[in-house]
Symmetry: D2
Subunit: 388 residues, 4 copies
């Protein structure tokens, strides 16, 4: 990666969004990947910012990443998602990959500015990872993967994939496996036509007898391995709602500056002010939750036993709470925000419709609200010794 | 109107929706009016069901209309809106039109199965009707209308229009004026590209020196005249959320019948059950509110002094509450409902995205929530003697 | 009953509340029953208004009763509860009692102006009536009842009791049994010290070998019999929130009339107006739901096969929805209302604290929200043919 | 202060609460100050933990204080409030007091383990500090204070007071003035009988010609000076809701461990789990917001120009958001929590009623929700350059 890392990353991201992410109709049009802005993001030193220094990456913390993602999401949330989702797969490989696989793979990746993908969700299993039906079978020095994955983002142009599978040998054993994108037997069935976040590309994927060396299997139970990575991606998904909510707020203020009501500027109206004051509180709440969750992730990552610790901990409380809270708070902002622009707000002349559709997403992706509640309860409330 | 009125109107509407309103992609595609289903609705005896018997109409009560509109909205809410919005203009003309205008106009209309339109909202004025800038000027035996109307549904193919104007002679005087659709000076500027309810067609309209005979001016203050009509249309707009919410419920049950979670059918899951139980309560609440509001409207309409009574009352409490409550409750159903279908619910493979967009509308149209709150407060809370 | 029934029952109830229910500290002090106002209510012709004409009662409909209860609850909700809860037991006896028991019992009761009580809830069973542990054992021409009932209102001074029991002979069979208050073996263990509704008296009761003739067993499955009666009492419990919410609204307006904010009367403040407009909508919504639920109850009661119909239907959808909706909406009013009076609202100098405690109750009594959701789902959503 | 500061302050506070704050009926009974537990808190090294080292205090940061206050509030929130509210007055004196006043006063105070009080709110002015009617008049080298203060906590036994006044010389000038508790002319009119937080003592106070040396006037505009201190106390008030919510959670788990529903332990019920999962998220959200707001306060306090910076900044965004968010989230916990204990939860046999009353308080004290919204809007949304 030849790009220089900017000193003020959040500022650079803000500048990038203002320069490159302004054409919301383009991003809302299911643009074909790779989008040209992806290369420019890499040129700006803002691609794959989390990649550890040992692979030649910038080694930016998740805590700083929250500010970057908030700024990019302010511009276009779907594009932002495209730019950060690789953290899920790279975190898994970094923590649990065999050296011979991990080092070359991540070094290549850090230099590429590209994307990688995780294949976990399935149609029947939904968010119940324990019901994964994609199997991996050991055969000599290889594993062979067969199954159907329902929603997987960035897959088509990924540098590599991580596939979550059930062990054919033992029903309760799961394996996360690194798979080259060009391995025979992988078929991208279709790209989903999604409601929002249309600047990202999500696919249905079929795997049939996909063979990789056994060294490509990540250490540890595949579902716990996945949870380790989700701690990072869920925080950034939560953060997406921050950028979107800040955008709603600013769009509302721009609109209000042009309007009068009851003989005064709309910005001087008490009821309008109360709504924006509420939104500002909600933004601050999301921001501090995401920052705290990122800091908890960073603190574990900084431990020498980070990989083992994540296998013990699984999903962190703060990341679960962040995704759930931002799903709700962002939707509250959308629910208020979509009523701030009068009839115009119900037309595609205004961006609020797109922002509302984008804001629906945080609660749904990588485990819905019910899944977050279940995990928080079973992991942090039910066991008395994990309560605070 | 040659169509026979069905005995079971709600049942007929349900049958019509099941037969004719099933292609949601068609209705979601901003279809060009007139949609062929409109003629078939007339053939089925379900068009303009409220038209009084004195004009040859079926004279169906608003109370019964609630059930019709709920069924049509279950099929397609935008189409339903197209089919019932004319009640706003015809109610105004019926109550306040000069006999020489009213009788032939409404008799023609009742026989036509067509639509008529109301032009009230403006860009700058928003929902503050008192700031209407479209003017009407008396000139001899005529009035001349000039102005720009922002959102007006069904205008392009309307049989006639009712235009809300400010009197050029007196700033505080407003006139609602009947205008033939083909009067010179009317220009449909554009059709709006709306977020939902895309089976209806809403326009921006320009009026320049549109001249009609003075007899076309409706009796009474134009804003109060408009409020009289809004009592009917707001109840039906509120009802739209009932049909949509019933649809969400049934789609959820169909989906759940195919899914398992934690080893049992999703329909047997307690958390799912709790959400559907909540939705059922919300539907019942909306239904009883709309029925009560419709009954209040019918009761006033049955009075010999209905026209005067509406000028006194203005907006009824129950109609204001119905629109506001159904805006909120329908959105609550959408907020829960849009999370019931897993990731699939975030794709356009499923109808829930469309239903959510449609459900956003009730709160926004014909006066947003803030307007409803203001009216309820100023008309029914502040004056102690109108409290209950 | 010698009292004349007033022509305007709601008006009479309003007058009674204004004259007799003004000392909120008295009612909030767990007054010892009978409260002197109970006799005065009977004198005013407002006691046990629902008692059928065949027993010499006034035969007022539940629909009219909603208006009476709203007015009494406006005065004091605990007192109102005391005055109407007997409808639960009398409805069961009226529908399912053997003639030889029913006729003298209800004729006496209608003339007495007193109260009767239902003993259903138990400590372990909570709201799961199927887990009732109080048993009834047939012994010759008698049944013998033993068990512990947790919450039962009006029991101590009741004219008679209806006790819900499990049949000792068959685990799945339940019996509702009429029991004279003075039957040996009944012990009132204690009166509960409750958070609100302290103008009513609720007891824990122990029954040990309480023997009554077999004719005292009501016809039909005891749980369904109970559900029949709950249709009436739940609607009135829901209505309690209407009276309380109207009181919150009026207290807020009285307070606001004395306050200024930002240089204007608080009543002229837009944010305050918005809150009161919202409350007014919520009141209208509750009112129309309760009226509709009452009308549904009245319609079934008017059928010649009312008793059988209620055994088939069990809990009506509208009554379940009414209790649940008014539990939520009343609490929303309390949540807003308790913030409308500044710091004063957090002191016992103001009545709002009491109103808030009273408003907590509707959601909790006679089946919590979870129970309502379960019933709505299992009875009206899951069976496709009962959906609307 | 001879007490040794414990190394693990939060742990010590937890232990103190478990040992000393268990008799909730005592604290709920408006106990006469000083409560004996106050002296024991000082003995435990947990009184006035924020007092700077320069006065001989422990100099614990607000960030650490959040954890202390959460633990004490878990035991009894009213007692906790009593223990931390002095931070409001001491912060003002520390930042803005003349050396000759500040140093001896705060040194004495740090050693005393006692309390001090702030007198700001008034009856007519409510939360609009700019309408303060208590005046301070310069007379030679003294100022003379006259006015009536409505709500002031800890006043009666305070070591000293800070009184917010309007300058008699200039209508737009405000002065915060240090006043000895025993200055002639101060009369505690009454202690308020409050709904909750009854382990704290709040008074109405009359000041008549209270004379203090001019050196007792704090530097800077009195309202800004007050806002500086409120940044600390509002964060701790917000934190109170964390302790209370944790207590609700734990009480619910204890209750659920003894209950069965639908044939399984209540703790295994999915709907119960979902509610507790939601509460856990809400607790985490409150905690991270309060910690972030405390850290922001600490960061400003660590600046050499802290006093000036606070005059510029006034209320910090994060403190405003913390108080508002915890007011709402704590109330959400109360609203769910008060329904988790069946009928028992509506009796005074259970603590949940007290916890609910306590949780109502955060939103009301030191500026209601409307005030928070107004400040967030006018300070952080309206000025474009303060947006984030």
């Amino acid at each position: 990666m030849t790009a220089t890392r900017p000193a003020d990353l959040a500022g650079a991201a803000r500048g990038f969004a203002a320069a490159e992410l302004t054409d919301h109709r383009y991003f809302d049009g299911l643009p074909e990947p790779p989008m040209p802005q992806q290369a420019r993001l890499a040129d700006a030193g803002l691609a794959n910012w989390w990649m550890p220094v040992e692979y030649g990456g910038p080694g930016v913390s998740l805590r700083e990443g929250v500010d970057i993602v908030s700024e990019l999401s302010y511009g276009d949330a779907g594009f932002a998602f495209t730019s950060y989702l690789s953290i899920l797969a790279t975190t898994m490989v970094h923590l649990y990959g065999e050296d011979e696989v991990r080092k070359p793979l991540l070094t290549d990746f850090a230099g590429s500015g590209g994307v990688c993908a995780t294949l976990a969700s399935e149609d029947a299993a939904g968010s119940e990872l324990g019901r994964t039906e994609t199997t991996s079978t050991r055969r000599g020095g290889a594993v062979i993967i067969t199954g159907d994955k329902y929603f997987s983002t960035n897959t088509d142009l990924a540098e590599f994939l991580v596939v979550v599978t059930r062990s054919a040998e033992s029903d309760q054993d799961f394996r996360a496996v690194v798979v080259p994108r060009d391995a025979p037997g992988i078929k991208v069935v279709r790209r989903w036509d999604v409601l929002g976040m249309r600047g990202s590309a999500t696919y249905e994927v079929r795997l049939r007898n996909v063979r990789v060396p056994a060294s490509h299997v990540l250490r540890g139970n595949g579902i716990r391995v996945l949870e380790a990575g989700l701690n990072a991606s869920r925080v950034l998904i939560a953060t997406t709602s921050i950028g979107l909510s800040r955008r709603v707020r600013d769009e509302a203020m721009s609109y209000a500056a042009t309007k009068t009501i009851k003989g005064e500027r709309l910005t001087a109206n008490n009821v309008f002010a109360a709504k924006l004051g509420e939104i500002e509180m909600q933004i601050d709440l999301m921001l501090n939750q995401c920052r705290a969750a990122a800091a908890e992730f960073d603190a574990i990552m900084a431990r020498p036993d980070a990989a083992d610790e994540f296998l013990r901990v699984g999903s962190t409380r703060s990341a679960l709470a962040a995704k759930m809270a931002c799903g709700q708070l962002g939707w509250a902002v959308a629910s208020t925000g979509s009523q701030l622009f009068g009839g115009l707000g119900y037309t595609n002349d205004h961006i609020i419709g797109k922002l509302t559709r984008d804001l629906r997403w945080t609660a749904l992706v990588e485990g819905g609200e019910d899944v977050m509640r279940d995990l928080l309860y079973s992991r942090y409330v039910l066991p008395g010794d994990r309560r605070r």
